[in-house]
Amino acid sequence: MRDQVILRVVSKITAPFILVFGFYVIAHGELGPGGGFQGGVVLASAFILYGLVFGLAELDAIVPRRVTDGLAGAGVLLYVVVGLVGIVSGYRFLDYTPLRVTGSESAESWGMTLVEYGVGITVASVMITVYREVSQAGAAEK
């Protein structure tokens, strides 16, 4: 679809907005609808749109396989590390009390936000990987 001027221009213009919306959904999950899972999917959809229009090679140039593979694990790791911070500080696993911001209105901001970002990073990377593998299988079949 690279020769479609309208698709190319529109996807280039909308991709940053999709990314911002994805981060908004992740970060705003404590206040409104959304959270790591939904935000991660929205983030991935920006890259998938780019891959659909410009092709797999261009997508690989932006986010190499190494990066998505690493980030998929890093998200889970971030979640577990937040849980371990609780144990190290003398609370239970995944107790966010040590991550409270004192004097702030939102008591859970650090623990919850970090966990949501962990979920979002893993979901986005895995979704990009799924798209990549499926469309690569399609390309190999042709």
Partner: protein, 206 residues
Amino acid sequence: MTIIEFLLLDVILLCLLIVTSVTIFVLHNLLAATMVLSLYSLVMSLVWLNLDAADVALTEAAVGAGIATVLLIGALVVVGAEERKHPLIHWPALVLIALTTAALVYGTFDLPPFGAASAPAQAHVAPEYISQSVPKLHSGDYGSAKNAEDQPTSDNFHGHVPNLVTSVIVNYCAYDTLFEVAVIFAAGVSLVLLLGRRVAGNGGEP
């Protein structure tokens, strides 16, 4: 919005759902069926929104209408867009579906009436969670113990955020969510191991 308008909207949306699902069944072009399936998810997300389940609606729109459609189209590139010809009625399958439908319909007789206040979903643990979270929302003070009279005696959450759904998912069900993420990670890894890293020219061996 009055209850009648609410129910009217629900009826219209559910009728649309039935129409789209029958259309998916009838269509023989798989690409068209995929598009209608995406439409189904979009209508479904409106149903969730009408039920005030904004989080579920967002998930349905992002995953069902968005990613799932893209992945199905990716699969269609491999299998082709036309359905294989087969007889219209497959009797064993029809009997199986009829039996399953009958069992499910029989199961609905045990369900509480729609919107009943005495339903387990309303009466079991939900009031406790709401009573632990909502007072803090109105006081605008999530977690500090300044307004001690508002604080419930038990605290399953160890802290609160305005979105009760997020509060339950990330605090009360934190272990569940951790292992859900682990499952997604495992799915990605297995996909890479099964499909990916084919080196060109060696017959698909990794």
